[in-house]
Amino acid sequence: QKEVEQDPGPLSVPEGAIVSLNCTYSNSAFQYFMWYRQYSRKGPELLMYTYSSGNKEDGRFTAQVDKSSKYISLFIRDSQPSDSATYLCAMTWTGAQKLVFGQGTRLTINP
């Protein structure tokens, strides 16, 4: 079993919809949780970063962490075609340098 599980999709939704992306994990030592966005043939870029449990909002994006359930989510409101990309969750623990990534979810927003 992988340390971080993420449904690879693909996920296709109409423009304007609310998108929910999720990851589960097994390592209770994880304290730092990130969401990366990766466009085709590009490297991932950091979207959101959260420490421990709770919510964080940045514009149309909201990241949620539920450590008791070992479950993290990314919500995208008012989704746009430009949001079409692969979204990767990543996490790590205090003192570590490397990130442990989920498989990535391929998202398409249809105009």
């Binding site: 490297g43 870029e45 990543a90 340098q97 490397k98 990130l99």
Partner: protein, 117 residues
Amino acid sequence: GAGVSQSPSNKVTEKGKDVELRCDPISGHTALYWYRQSLGQGLEFLIYFQGNSAPDKSGLPSDRFSAERTGGSVSTLTIQRTQQEDSAVYLCASSLELAGGPTDTQYFGPGTRLTVL
């Protein structure tokens, strides 16, 4: 400013040949990371450099893989006697290491797409 650059962008090689992949981090970034992205596998950590030293090389899959960094800047990932299962996108990232650890944002390059025939 310039981001992380990697070369070549694509590499096709024959099984058994050696390949070298290059990473130029963002100027001034002391930390450098290599990851591998295989189809359906997500990103897998390979190695982390702090300056020219590699305190964590736990992700290198076999002794056919090695990496070095010189002058605290450019890094080269070498794969010897390539196998078909080595086919993947190899991504490099760098970070400033202001605070040290997970709070330092890793900036990724576009990757090198390696195909082993």
